[in-house]
C-alpha cells in the first residue's frame, strides 16, 4: 500500500507547493521558445512532405502525431491558441479514413495558422483575429468530421 509507504494519506495541495511547482516550470521557461520552434518546424517539414506525397500514408500519420503532440504542448509553452488549433488539426486527420477525406488546403491552413500565431505573438484567443481564425478552422473541421465525443 502506497499510503503506508508515504506515511499516511496525502494532504490537500497547499499553495506554497503549487507555487514551487509553477516556479519549477518557470525555470524551464527560457527553453519554451526554442522547444516550440522545434515542434512547429517539425510540423511544417511534415506538411511539406504531405503536400507532395499526400496525407494518406505514413506522412499523414506522422503529421497527426506531430499535431497531437502540439495539442499537448502549446499551452505549456504559453501559446494556448496553438493547443486549440492543433486540437482542431488532430480532429481533422486522426484516422486513415479522415486523412483520406481531408482537404490538404484545410490541413495546410492549420499549419499556417500555428506559424502565424508564433510570428504575430498571438498566444490565446483573447486576440480577436486569433479567435476568429481558430473558430473558422474548427467550424470547417466540424462540418467535415462532425462533433466527436
Amino acid at each position: 500500500m502506497l499510503k503506508a509507504k508515504v506515511g499516511g494519506a496525502l494532504p490537500a495541495a497547499n499553495e506554497a507547493m503549487m507555487q514551487r511547482a509553477e516556479a519549477a516550470i518557470g525555470d524551464l521557461r527560457q527553453n519554451f521558445k526554442a522547444w516550440l520552434e522545434e515542434e512547429v518546424g517539425k510540423l511544417e517539414a511534415l506538411m511539406r512532405t504531405a503536400r507532395t506525397s499526400g496525407i494518406e500514408g505514413e506522412a499523414g500519420e506522422a503529421l497527426f502525431t506531430c499535431a497531437h503532440d502540439l495539442r499537448g504542448l502549446g499551452s505549456t509553452y504559453e501559446f494556448p491558441i496553438i493547443t486549440r488549433i492543433a486540437a482542431s488539426l488532430s480532429k481533422l486527420i486522426e484516422t486513415p479514413e479522415q486523412r483520406a477525406a481531408a482537404p490538404v488546403a484545410l490541413v495546410d491552413a492549420h499549419v499556417g495558422a500555428i506559424r502565424a500565431a508564433i510570428l504575430q505573438n498571438v498566444r490565446n484567443d483573447t486576440d480577436p483575429i486569433g479567435k476568429a481564425l481558430a473558430e473558422e478552422l474548427e467550424t470547417r473541421v466540424t462540418k467535415l468530421v462532425g462533433e466527436r465525443s
Binding site: G7, L10, P11, A16, A21, G72
Partner: protein, 171 residues
C-alpha cells in the same frame, strides 16, 4: 496536516517512472514532481525502455504518454495488466495524454489505466492524481474480459451484493 510550504514527508520515498517520447515533456513532469518532493524519477523515451526500468526497479507509479512510436502507451498498459507477461500487474498508472475525448478516457480505463490526466496539465492536476492513487487506491478486479483497477469509483463504499457474476477482487 502539513505545514504551509512543506511537502508531505513521505513523497520522497515514491519511485516514479515517466515514459514519454518528448524529452521536454519528461523534463516538465520531472520538475513538477521535484516540487512535490519526489526526486526518484526514472525516464523512458519509449515502451521498450520503460519495460526495462519496470523489470529492474521497484516503481510505485507509472506516468505514461499514449501516442508513442513504435509501440503506443495503451499497448504498454495492456502488457502491464497481463498477469502472464507483466513484471508489475498491479502498478498504478497515470495516462498523461493530449487526448481529451470521453471515448479515449473510456478506452484507457478499459485497458487498465488507474488515472487519466490531459495535457497540457496543471501541477495541481498531477498532485490530485497522486493523491487519489495513495489515498483512495482502486481495488483490482479480474473478470473474464478485464484485469485491472476497478473502473467504478464511488463516492461512498458500495454496500450491496457483487453484481459481476465472474468478479474476483484481488486487493
Amino acid at each position: 496536516m502539513i505545514a504551509n510550504g512543506a511537502t508531505p514527508d513521505g513523497l520522497d520515498k515514491l519511485r516514479i517512472a515517466v515514459v514519454d517520447d518528448n524529452a521536454a515533456m519528461r523534463g516538465i513532469v520531472r520538475s513538477v514532481l521535484g516540487a512535490f518532493g519526489i526526486t526518484q524519477v526514472y525516464e523512458a523515451a519509449d515502451v521498450e525502455a520503460a519495460l526495462q526500468i519496470l523489470r529492474a526497479e521497484k516503481i510505485d507509479v507509472l506516468i505514461c504518454d499514449w501516442k508513442m512510436k513504435p509501440v503506443d502507451g495503451l499497448s504498454l498498459v495492456r502488457t502491464l495488466r497481463d498477469p502472464e507477461e507483466s513484471p508489475c500487474p498491479l502498478l498504478p498508472i497515470i495516462m498523461l495524454t493530449a487526448y481529451a475525448e470521453p471515448s479515449k478516457v473510456k478506452e484507457a480505463r478499459d485497458a487498465g489505466v488507474t488515472e487519466f490526466l490531459v495535457k497540457p496539465f496543471a501541477a495541481e492536476g498531477l498532485y490530485g492524481r497522486l493523491q487519489m492513487i495513495v489515498n483512495r487506491p482502486r481495488p483490482f478486479v479480474r473478470t473474464k474480459v478485464f484485469f485491472g483497477p476497478d473502473r467504478r469509483r464511488l463516492a461512498s463504499g458500495y454496500q450491496g451484493p457483487e453484481r459481476r457474476d465472474d468478479a474476483a477482487p484481488l486487493s
